[in-house]
């Protein structure tokens, strides 16, 4: 249970961190009007110049393409971005280089491809950097490969091809629009204040009157982070509570079994006492039995949990995170349960009167 929970947590954390933290994603939505009003480069410039605390701001526009190399076709998407986008989203390069200033301005036919694209249409034996490929009918030269970003919510972020923004606007989308803006801000600024500043600037630029709804949306990754963290926290507490209840139930079960065992074996205890066993030795015997029973149960439980979480994590598509600590902990807790719930029956056994115990049928 805990292993699975950790798997989910690790998965979510990875997804969140791949989004980047202290970052807003700003995109147009349908407000009171029917039409979607996209942003353009001027909005990006305005945010850069007029909002305090902004580290990076970058626009992005994307289009579905078929990437062709060496006779291989692959469905992917081309994303028009500037170098600042890589900083804002925290995208690193595995090999090659970013766009040069000139390439960005002139909109050169150069591209930085994702690992998925590389794996699908380029040979594994040689670097794709310097190779030429075709996106629909546009030829471009590969100048870099970015490091894996993982999959967020089912879509593969590694299946992407970055080209300079102006080039994508000119050759693929045919207008000056950008799909969304990424705003990365200084972590010392509060996300609420940043968000307010952004909203008021954009409302002003889009001439929204008081009372009119925002025709854009701001997604705050810090907020997502918090929400997820609290959800996962609640989940962990729930899991822990269930585990605690099952431990108590199991412990009471052990205690009952041991009490029954003590009653059933009253005669044996009498024999042992008559032969000269000390109360302490009888107590140890029953305590040891309880602990061994619990440890055995704990071992079986760990093996069962191991198999179950392995099966479930592959079923749910969650990475399997093996945590030796949690396994050792659960084993130790089983032993502890044995000691705690075995003590009472053991004490009862050791306090038996040998004469009475021998007479017991």
């Amino acid at each position: 249970m805990v292993t699975l929970g950790r798997g989910v947590t690790a998965d979510i954390e990875e997804q969140i961190s791949s989004l980047g933290s202290n970052m807003f994603i700003v995109f147009p939505v349908q407000g009171d009007r029917d039409q979607l009003r996209p942003f353009d480069e001027r909005d990006v410039e305005a945010v850069r110049e007029q909002v305090a605390g902004v580290n990076f701001v970058a626009g992005q526009v994307e289009s579905q393409v078929t990437a062709i190399h060496n006779g291989q076709n692959w469905r992917s998407k081309v994303e028009g971005v500037n170098n600042e986008f890589f900083d804002a989203r925290g995208i690193k390069l595995d090999e090659g280089r970013r766009f040069s200033e000139r390439e960005q301005q002139s909109g050169a036919n150069v591209c930085i491809i994702g690992p998925t694209v590389r794996d699908e249409i380029f040979l594994a034996s040689q670097s794709p950097v310097g190779e030429h490929m075709r996106l629909n009918n546009v030829s471009c030269q590969v100048i870099g490969v970015f490091a894996t970003r993982g999959a967020v919510g089912g879509s593969d972020d590694d299946n992407a091809i970055f080209m300079p923004l102006t080039n994508v606007q000119r050759r693929f989308t045919g207008n000056d629009d950008i799909g969304y803006m990424v705003v990365a801000y200084d972590p010392s600024y509060s996300s609420t204040a940043m968000s307010h500043a952004l909203v008021s600037l954009l409302r002003e630029r889009r001439v929204l009157l008081e009372g009119q709804a925002n025709d854009f949306d701001i997604v705050d990754t810090a907020e997502i982070n918090e929400t997820v963290a609290s959800t996962v926290g609640t989940m962990t507490i729930m899991v822990a509570a269930i585990a605690a209840i099952s431990l108590v139930v199991g412990g009471v079960g052990i205690m009952n079994i041991m009490l029954v065992s003590v009653t059933e074996r009253t005669r044996e205890i009498g024999i042992r006492l008559a032969i000269g066993a000390l109360a302490r030795e009888v107590r140890m015997q029953f305590l040891t039995e309880a602990v061994v029973l619990c440890c055995f149960g704990g071992l079986v439980g760990i093996l069962f949990g191991f198999a179950l979480s392995l099966g479930l994590s592959s079923l749910l598509g969650v990475p399997y995170v093996f945590d030796p600590f949690i396994n050792i902990l659960s084993f130790a807790i089983s032993a502890l349960i044995g000691i705690i719930f075995g003590y009472f029956p053991a004490r009862r056994a050791s306090n038996l009167d040998p004469i009475e115990a021998l007479r017991h049928e």
Binding site: A274, I275, G276, A277, A279, L358
Partner: protein, 261 residues
């Protein structure tokens, strides 16, 4: 170890319950048992013989009076100290055999040695030796359920003997056996006694008491009379005795007293 009597009881009383429900099982028992004696304790039910045996076995303590075992005053010892006395000096044989059901004969015999902290190999060796004395080595790996009553009682005797006790306490050892097995067991006890072990035995049957040297009769919580130099019965398998430093069968035959023993 002292050279005096192995067991001395002085004005032992034992009261069960309290207030109006109190029942005085022993009303001042005086009894001295010498080393090497074979004592049969007889008496009707409720006469106090079992209570006396429990006290002698250090399983119970008297309400008042002095119980000296090998010179130690047992009545003032703690539970655990009495356990240690039992472990060192006493062996028990019960009417119901009281073997551990799920363990083999040899493991049953090993049990007292476990509490003495002996090593595994030493335990096994001593247990097999004790089983040899009762002639049950071939049955060493059998569980009690696979043994006859007589065999079970012999395993129980082996268990009592494995620690070389000073005193063997037998509580109606033949109570659950037919007369033939009973005689067998009694003969074996008599042989054991001949090797120097003091034996205290509770019995209802005069035929079994006939094997003892001393018979103590209880009545109403008191010792009614003691027959010393008891008319000891000739063991049937007397030849077995000849190899041991005991009186020759001829001395005891024909009702000759064994007092010289």
């Amino acid at each position: 170890m002292t050279t005096g009597p192995i067991i001395e009881l002085e004005k032992i009383t034992k009261t069960f319950g309290e207030g109006t429900a109190a029942f005085q099982a022993l009303k001042g028992v005086d009894l001295t048992i010498e080393r090497g004696d074979f004592v049969a304790v007889m008496g009707p039910s409720g006469s106090g013989k079992s209570t006396t045996m429990n006290i002698l076995g250090c399983l119970d303590v008297p309400t008042s009076g002095v119980f000296r075992f090998l010179g130690t005053e047992v009545q003032s010892l703690t539970r655990d100290q009495r356990s240690l006395l039992r472990r060192k000096y006493l062996g028990f044989v019960f009417q119901g055999f009281n073997l551990l059901a799920r363990t083999t004969a040899v493991e049953n015999v090993e049990l007292p040695l476990v509490y003495r902290g002996e090593g595994k190999a030493a335990r096994r060796e001593a247990a097999l030796k004790a089983l040899d004395r009762v002639g049950l080595v071939p049955w060493a790996e059998h569980t009690p359920a696979e043994l006859s009553g007589g065999q079970q009682q012999r395993v129980a005797i082996a268990r009592a003997l494995v620690t070389d006790p000073e005193v063997l306490l037998a509580d109606e050892p033949t109570g659950n056996l037919d007369s033939e097995r009973s005689v067998e067991i009694m003969e074996f006890l008599a042989e054991l006694n001949a090797t120097g072990i003091t034996i205290l035995m509770v019995t209802h049957e005069p035929e079994m008491a006939a094997f003892a040297k001393t018979v103590v009769h209880f009545k109403d919580g008191l010792v009614e009379r003691i027959e010393r130099d008891h008319h000891q019965r000739e063991p049937v398998g007397a030849a077995r005795c000849s190899a041991r430093p005991c009186s020759s069968p001829s001395v005891r035959s024909g009702g000759t007293s064994c007092a010289a023993f």
